[in-house]
């Protein structure tokens, strides 16, 4: 289960070719790429900086892939997440999953992304015309994970109090 946290860009074609190389069992490959938008919450984003928790982030991603493998009959999964400075149009994250049939890899790919959004320690800081700001966690991302029967508790402050 390859996991990579890196500043460099990645190439979908090359990564998928490597992931399924020589594996004749594979009949389906699903991939997702997340990219940087130029607008977020009403402000123009010129650049963002992605911070992570070296060591814990890699462990969290490995745990997420292990959970996907326990849940679906998939062969392999790849997660690449970039850190450091990124600009609109840049690629941020790649998830690719191989399986015999499409259902498993579609589901596992979405699950890995939903899990990553609320459980992997990454933080985005955006540069906007009004200055730099840390991106707020979205309750919608918690709900996305809840559809898999897993409680997230990432975005919501206890007792509905203010966010940090």
């Amino acid at each position: 289960m390859p996991i990579r946290v890196q500043t460099e860009d990645f190439d979908l074609g090359a990564e998928v070719a490597k992931l399924r190389a020589g594996d004749r069992r594979v009949g389906a490959v699903c991939s997702f790429i997340g990219t940087v938008r130029d607008m977020n919450e009403g402000a123009q984003v010129a650049e963002m900086e992605l911070e992570h928790y070296p060591g814990m982030t890699e462990k969290a991603l490995e745990d997420i892939v292990a959970r996907a493998k326990a849940r679906w009959n998939i062969y392999d999964a790849l997660v690449i997440h970039r850190v450091g400075p990124l600009k609109p149009l840049d690629q941020i994250v790649l998830v690719a999953v191989t399986s015999a049939h499409r259902g498993e890899s579609f589901a596992a790919c979405e699950f890995i992304m939903d899990y990553l959004k609320t459980q992997a320690p990454f933080w985005k800081k955006e540069q906007t015309p009004a200055g730099a700001r840390w991106v707020d966690a979205r309750a919608a991302d918690d709900r996305a994970l809840e559809k898999w029967g897993i409680e997230s508790g990432n975005a919501e402050a206890p007792n509905g109090a203010d966010k940090t």
């Binding site: 928790y53 814990m56 992304m113 990553l116 990454f122 985005k124 990432n154 975005a155 206890p158 940090t164």
Partner: protein, 85 residues
């Protein structure tokens, strides 16, 4: 008991530190106790680590809740809700 503290993202900026080693008094036994003990420093510590703030915690690089027991030499981290992907 001695532990390592780590802070990330907005929490790191507000506290003005990324990591430190601390010697804990005996009554500090859980991650939540560490949070409360750090609040006693006042100022940004009291505000940023206040109860009711959306703050996530990790012990030895695994997400945890306030009740998690800590042990000598462990690494306790505080950070805001995550926003990757």
């Amino acid at each position: 008991m001695n532990i390592q503290l780590r802070f990330f993202a907005s929490v790191r900026e507000k506290l003005g530190t990324a990591q430190e080693s601390v010697a804990l008094p005996d009554h500090v036994q859980t991650v939540g106790d560490v949070r409360a003990w750090l609040r006693e420093r006042g100022g940004p510590w009291a505000e940023t680590l206040a109860e009711g703030r959306a703050l996530r915690m990790a012990c030895n690089q695994v997400m945890t809740d306030a009740g998690a027991k800590i042990s000598d030499g462990c690494e306790v981290a505080f950070f805001p809700p995550v926003t990757g992907g």
